[in-house]
């Protein structure tokens, strides 16, 4: 027999044996059999095949834990309390867990694998989060780097959410990106509009999701969403609401303000400060000015940090924190109780918290979402 053919047959045979061996070892090593997940002390019991990360396992059972990074272990949003012993904190978890969280057995559900029976605690509201199929109804440029994306829901056809909450967009593979991922964006539309949701998405250079939305997503495209999630929403009090937004952080504030107006919650004073550099960075100005005309206790204060000569700007000038401080001292009623609502970059939020606490708002009355 031809020696080349013999060699080929031998190599082929060995490859087949090795492949079968790999499959066999994999099935043995990673086969944890059926395991039980107890959620919230028996409220829900799941029997699942072990081996996968907890985040994925739960999502396959219709329970969706927030994950702004799609399970890569970079956002720290998927924290759950694990009541069972599942081993030490992993190196991939440690940077995103503080000492108190470690003490309380908080773990990243995208990093821990379900290898045996496990008990966990999750916020009750996560039981209502769902996966939605939708279609892009419209995409509008609000500024040179912010798009408004409106998505009509198809299945389920409606969503219930609190104004201020967020959903996760499922980003499909594209170009060199070869796997699905998810990113979180605040809903900018009102909860009264149950059959669609709207987002404001600012392009982040190099960002997987924002690059997709800005450069590849088209009207009539199908898209999946997961949610709703989040604890940034109007608290039911009579305190004045001092809202500060930057960039796409206007999204949840727009939802909250619109919802309040629609529900006739107009007895509260609401101040909305919106910071930008120059006129080309502002958007929705007419919308909020119209709201001022309809709602005498609503005050919209846009401020530019570096207005350009061509802007012919006659409004407030300066960093939004400086404008906020000025209004606290000179224009707001000093005798009313107040709450803070912040959405923007971590730097803006941290700076605004300082201004607010200095002006008498307790830190536990300042609510924020460190990104839209």
């Amino acid at each position: 027999m031809n020696p080349v053919l013999v060699a080929s047959l031998i190599i082929g045979g060995l490859s087949g044996v090795l492949s079968a061996l790999i499959v066999l070892v994999d099935s043995l090593v990673n086969n944890y059999g059926e395991v039980n997940i107890d959620i919230n002390n028996g409220k829900k019991q799941l029997k699942v095949n072990g081996g996968a990360p907890l985040l994925i396992t739960l999502s396959e059972q219709g329970i969706f834990i927030p994950s702004a990074c799609g399970g890569r272990g970079s956002c720290g949003a998927c924290k759950v309390k694990v009541l069972s012993d599942i081993g030490p904190i992993l190196p991939t978890e440690a940077p995103l867990l503080d000492t108190e969280e470690i003490k309380q057995n908080i773990r990243l559900s995208c990093q821990v694998k379900v290898k045996s029976d496990i008990s966990i605690e999750i916020p009750e509201e996560l039981f209502i989060a769902k996966k939605f199929e939708g279609v892009v109804e419209s995409i509008k440029n609000l500024t040179y780097d912010i798009k408004e994306v409106k998505i009509k829901l198809i299945e389920p056809p409606e969503v219930e959410f609190k104004a201020g909450q967020y959903m996760q967009l499922v980003i499909p593979p594209y170009e060199k990106i070869n796997e699905y991922t998810q990113r979180a964006y605040s809903i900018s539309s009102s909860p009264s509009q149950k059959s669609y949701v709207e987002f404001l998405i600012r392009l982040v250079p190099g960002g997987i999701a924002t690059t997709y939305v800005h450069n590849y997503l088209k009207e009539n495209d199908k898209i999946e969403l997961v949610g709703p999630f989040g604890e940034f929403y109007m608290r039911d009090t009579d305190a004045d609401m001092i809202c500060v937004a930057g960039g796409s952080g206007l999204a949840p504030i727009k939802s909250i303000v619109t919802d309040m107006y629609e529900r006739n919650i107009t007895h509260r004073n609401v101040w909305l400060f919106f910071g930008a550099r120059s006129l080309k960075d502002l958007y929705y100005v007419d919308f909020f000015k119209d709201m001022e005309k309809k709602w005498d206790r609503f005050h919209f204060i846009p401020a530019l940090s570096e207005p350009q000569p061509e802007d012919n700007w006659e409004g407030e000038v300066g960093l939004i924190t400086d404008v906020l401080d000025k209004y606290f001292k000179a224009k707001m009623d000093q005798n009313t109780s107040k709450e803070g609502y912040l959405c923007g970059s971590p730097g803006m939020i941290n700076a605004c918290i300082k201004v607010m606490t200095t002006n008498g708002i307790p830190e536990d009355k300042i609510y924020y979402d460190k990104f839209a």
């Binding site: 940077p95 070869n178 550099r277 570096e306 730097g347």
Partner: protein, 150 residues
């Protein structure tokens, strides 16, 4: 420069979609070791004061952060734009996790512009990795010198 196991692992992490949308290597077909060595040589030839430049970059980053994600003019010499996004990015060399913070620096005199991130600053400082040719966050030493000149 030899492709060590550490560099091989880092190169795998630099592929598109692993950490960022477009990865760290762009269209560069050289090995990671060769990319690093080549840029180290370029820094020497250009007589770039490596640590002074990094210090200046960090100064500009802090100034940009003070503008809360809006563009800002710094020292009447640079237009700075910092973007902070939700989440973190791990270093492909697996030695740190960094907030998603991008820094765009434009020199107002010569109009040269460069895009960095907190992660890419770390990559330059600790690993002398300026990213591959064609990468969105590629920091060409020659361009960096022009952007930072006063």
């Amino acid at each position: 420069m030899k492709m060590t196991e550490e560099l091989k692992k880092a190169a795998e992490n630099m592929k598109p979609g692993v950490i960022t949308a477009e990865g760290f290597l762009g269209e560069d077909e050289r090995t990671l070791a060769d990319i690093i060595e080549s840029d180290e040589e370029k820094v020497r030839v250009l007589n770039i004061n490596f640590y002074e430049d990094l210090k200046k970059i960090k100064y500009l980053l802090e100034k940009g952060k003070e503008a809360f994600d809006e563009p800002v003019t710094v020292d009447n010499k640079w237009l700075i734009k910092v973007d902070e996004a939700r989440g973190h990015l791990p270093c492909p060399f697996e030695d740190g996790i960094f907030r998603k913070v991008n820094l765009r620096i434009r020199n107002l005199k010569n109009n040269e512009e460069i895009l960095l991130s907190e992660l890419s600053i770390h990559l330059i400082e600790k690993h002398h990795f300026f990213q591959g040719k064609g990468s969105k966050f590629r920091v060409d030493p020659e361009k960096l010198k022009k952007v930072l000149e006063e």
